[in-house]
Symmetry: C2
Subunit: 151 residues, 2 copies
DNA sequence: ATACCTGCAAATGCTTTGCGGATGG
DNA sequence: CCATCCGCAAAGCATTTGCAGGTAT
């Protein structure tokens, strides 16, 4: 855990020239503790406050921006207009999201896209893919037979 | 053109109980004239103003909300936080978007997803898919060999 | 030493809402 | 008629920015 944070910090220091401050270390620790979740800036702020090391909201925004541009986090918007961040894990397959329009539950899925997608895009459309975002909105098991209300 | 607007209006009147006002008719006409584009609320406002029948911004938001919930338009966000609307065309295959991170160009593509995707999701995850959104961010032909600046 | 970072407050920009007057069916 | 809609102004809300003081290297 602490080790992982240091790994990421080392990568930050070595590859980009980004200063390591106590706030940035705290944010990275929170991201690592919650690597299975999608955190909003407010989430990160609340956790930092609860843990006694409150980091200001603008600082979090600025840090997430840096982390995203450095490829350390992925920025996501699941349709509610609030940015959600998660650590980028190199080894992991690209994750796709099934988003329930009724209860908001997010199911993570992999392997929906053809393996040769990126080379196909390059050949057919001259497009160099970097980030692929597949989000499928609909109704989860629990909500499917309830009245299909939007939110 | 005018015919199409009336078709949609008839559908509105028949299937939902939505009043037809001059503003809503104007908005539908603008959407039809620009069925190949992705219009922001501001775009629609500017066109309406230029055409001498200015529709107020809040009215456009309210109308787009109704049209979206009625399945007449698709709401999209291509990563800049500004909602873009387009007419939903039933016959059309699901469209995927290649979005250039440098110049912002949007290339529309179809057929990237397996045919049995929805039934697969239902069987494997108990998920009833309604809207599928595949957005791929990267660099277009023109921008690929330029310095890969974000925006 | 000094370039960069933080936190506060204020600004920004898209979107939403309250409300009095207007209008469609 | 009367429920619904429109336009204006103002409010909401996530995000960004200016700036004075603090910190990492």
């Amino acid at each position: 855990m602490e080790l992982k944070a240091n790994d990421i910090i080392n990568e930050l220091v070595e590859t980009k020239d980004i200063r390591i401050t106590s706030q940035r270390r705290k944010i990275l620790e929170i991201l690592i503790e919650n690597r299975d979740k999608h955190l909003s800036v407010e989430d990160i702020y609340n956790v930092s406050k609860k843990q006694g090391k409150s980091v200001a909201i603008p600082t979090i925004y600025r840090t997430m921006d840096i982390l995203q541009k450095s490829g350390i986090v992925i920025k996501n918007d699941f349709g509610d207009g609030i940015a959600k961040y998660e650590l980028y894990v190199k080894e992991k397959e690209t994750i796709h999201y099934l988003i329930c329009k009724r209860c908001g539950k997010i199911i993570e899925v992999t392997g929906l896209l053809p393996d040769n997608l990126n080379s196909h895009l390059l050949e057919e459309h001259g497009f160099q893919a970097i980030d692929t975002s597949l989000k499928i909105y609909g109704y989860c098991d629990d909500c499917m037979y309830q009245e299909g209300k939007f939110q």
